[in-house]
Symmetry: C2
Subunit: 202 residues, 2 copies
Amino acid sequence: MEFPSKLIEEAVNQVSKLPGIGKKTALRLVLHLVKEKQENTFALTEALSNLRANIRYCNKCHNISDAEICSICLSHRRDQTLVCVVEDTKDVMAIENTAQYNGQYHVLGGVISPINGVGPSELKIESLVKRITDPANEVKEVILALSPTMEGDTTSFYIHKKIKELPVKISVISRGVPIGGDLEYADEITLGRSISGRTLFS
Amino acid sequence: MEFPSKLIEEAVNQVSKLPGIGKKTALRLVLHLVKEKQENTFALTEALSNLRANIRYCNKCHNISDAEICSICLSHRRDQTLVCVVEDTKDVMAIENTAQYNGQYHVLGGVISPINGVGPSELKIESLVKRITDPANEVKEVILALSPTMEGDTTSFYIHKKIKELPVKISVISRGVPIGGDLEYADEITLGRSISGRTLFS
């Protein structure tokens, strides 16, 4: 791509580093900003640099938070004995949206992925073990809610090995055919799992 | 959407103002920046604010340019007598990519669109007329290369009305079935136009 201006080129290069955004989309976004009022671009760049400079994490669950301890960890209405282990903030938001869960979270900050150079020590696994072993926390059940992918399963397996001797129940979110999905289009592994993992009809 | 932090919320709101980016995509992009090194976010925000603050346009063709007159307008290898009228920078880049055109450009900065509040006075139409009438420029042909949409056609019609008395040839890019496209799937208007606008087989 030949650019009419170095400024455009540099902006397109930076924007196209974002995941899922190629050079063509980046150019469209950049030209949109050029057409819009200058304040809009400054509001965008300020929000992003402000976020990156001042982002904080909850000391307990490691979710993104504005305070030292996040509102979910602080809430007395939530079950303190349940801890749901998730990959990142997006998953906390997705589970919160279901309105089916009223316990605590533990955000790992990723999953084990040797290809991307992420080992167990990069994740908040030690802190999970500490959280479970501290009697003050009264954790009774740990729910593993990682994506059913190779990396997610590896991470669940690793965590299970680490905490299986501790006096807590360890559960995992159910896997099977998605609701609204057509059996015909479910892959064999999912369908096989949903048969072997069948539950009583109620 | 409930956000765990005001910083995230503000960043997502700003990013989702970009065209074609919804709240979910914005959240994904923002969380990506949070995970990456701080320098990457600053490089992005600097490129964008730098672009917006220092963007300049060519005095002759109104394309985005780093200098007062852009490299295309300055080039002596290009045909000075041909002026191709386009909507914006994206179109200049698209035509340059074809390597089929060796003339000059005139960037209108948009098309006439009453719905979006864009009238002829918002576009560089007066400057096109001046450019054609100035004998120093030696313009012999004006190519109207606007999108074959309602707005593009309206703009072409308006420009044609403005310059038809001037001593220049006025041409328009050809419309018809796209190359590689299947006749079966071409819409009736396109197909009808490509029949009535047929050219000699060569």
